[in-house]
């Protein structure tokens, strides 16, 4: 089990990913919105300590819907399982923007500024995703890593988060999982990378998925 904590400078926060999280996709926000993003970035990012924990376990694709990680059967369903050909191991992870960021965001909320709340929320999402990118970059073992997949996405039942958490120590990185599978701090991520010598990394699944009702396609 590997656990790390790190901080980033405001300039290291990928601005375009924040814009994307705010719904801009390929568009660029107007100058005023960009300035607000920078102001909040400078205020919130120095407060954040990002944390992640991961482990590499034996993995096996059991069927078009199911996999086994470390002896436990998961059901990520067909969309995800279709990308797992050649998987022999999995990198199971939990990452978080951390309690410090959560508290800074809550303090901002007391100022009753919905624009700032929205931007802060998007910054938090990007910070949480940065832990996943850090793990991916850090991995230098054999084989190819797939894209990361998480319970709650691509038809994978979010309740399986409990099963995933059962493979980690209690409160990994300080993250608490509620009965309804809600992680706190709110800006936390969990999931797995498939790993295998013959595994082929597929394009990001939204680009090839045909689920027209997925909320990832919605705006606002």
């Amino acid at each position: 089990m590997i656990e790390r904590a790190f901080q980033i400078t405001p300039e290291e926060l990928p601005e375009k990913e924040v814009w994307f999280a705010m719904g801009y996709r390929d568009s660029v926000p107007d100058e005023r919105v960009r300035e607000l993003v920078l102001q909040l970035r400078d205020r919130l990012v120095p407060e954040a300590t990002l944390r992640y924990m991961y482990q590499i376990v034996e993995a096996e694709k059991l069927s078009p819907r199911q996999v086994r990680f470390d002896g436990k059967t998961f059901t990520p369903e067909g969309i995800i399982c279709s990308y797992l050909k050649g998987m022999t191991h999995a990198l199971l992870f939990i990452g978080t923007a951390g309690w410090e960021f959560d508290r800074a965001k809550e303090a901002l909320k007391a100022e009753d500024d919905i624009v700032a709340d929205f931007i802060a929320d998007s910054i938090g999402s990007v910070l949480a995703e940065m832990t996943v990118a850090r793990m991916e970059k850090e991995y230098d073992g054999p084989g190819t890593l797939s894209m990361p997949y998480s319970p709650g996405y691509c038809n994978w039942n979010i309740r399986e988060q409990h099963l995933l958490f059962s493979l980690f120590p209690e409160r990994p990185c300080g993250v608490i999982l509620s009965d309804s599978s809600l992680m706190t701090p709110e800006k936390s991520v969990s999931g797995f990378f498939a790993l295998g010598e013959t595994l082929q990394r597929q394009p990001y699944h939204c680009q090839i998925c045909k689920n027209t009702k997925c909320y990832k396609r919605r705006k606002g």
Partner: protein
Amino acid sequence: MNPLYDAIFKGMAPLAKTAVQASLDEGKSPQDIIDESMIPAMEAIGKEFEAGRVFVPNLLLSARAMKTALDILKPLMLAEQTTTLGTVVIGTVKGDLHDIGKNLVASMLEGRGFQVINLGTDVSKERFIEAAKEHNADIIAMSALLTTTMDYMKEVVDAVKADGLNVKTMIGGAPVTAEFAASIGADGFSTNANEAVEVAKKLLS
């Protein structure tokens, strides 16, 4: 040329504050100011959003400017007969603490002329019903981000029906679909904050 309309459309809160005071100084009534400048500006920015020409932050900037102006008008409106489109009790359902989307909807509803009672997050069915009765609400609006918590929306809808409360229910949130809304007997459903206003208006028409 309507400086208040422009200030709200462009999301300029300080200008909205100045412009609303200027309108009052001209002798306009608060209700006329809202009806003639503020709500049309919010409707216009909503249409821009639907057309993909502006984004969520622009909606929020306009909603913030609208709120700034409303904060000036509200104390003056207590003394006179005012009209709203209706009263909406809104909250994120029990078990769920996500509130950004719900607050966005609340702001847009308020900006377009609804009275909004925002109950926050982790709201039980009892609390929804209690607040709806207390404020004589027309609509209960529920939000959920998780598939595990969206099922609680059905419990709220069922509780409202069992109580015999004369109130419409509408739902929204990332995992919610029109099919789900229909399956639990909700009266309305929307995929974004701007559309939520149109759904609410339709429910009360």
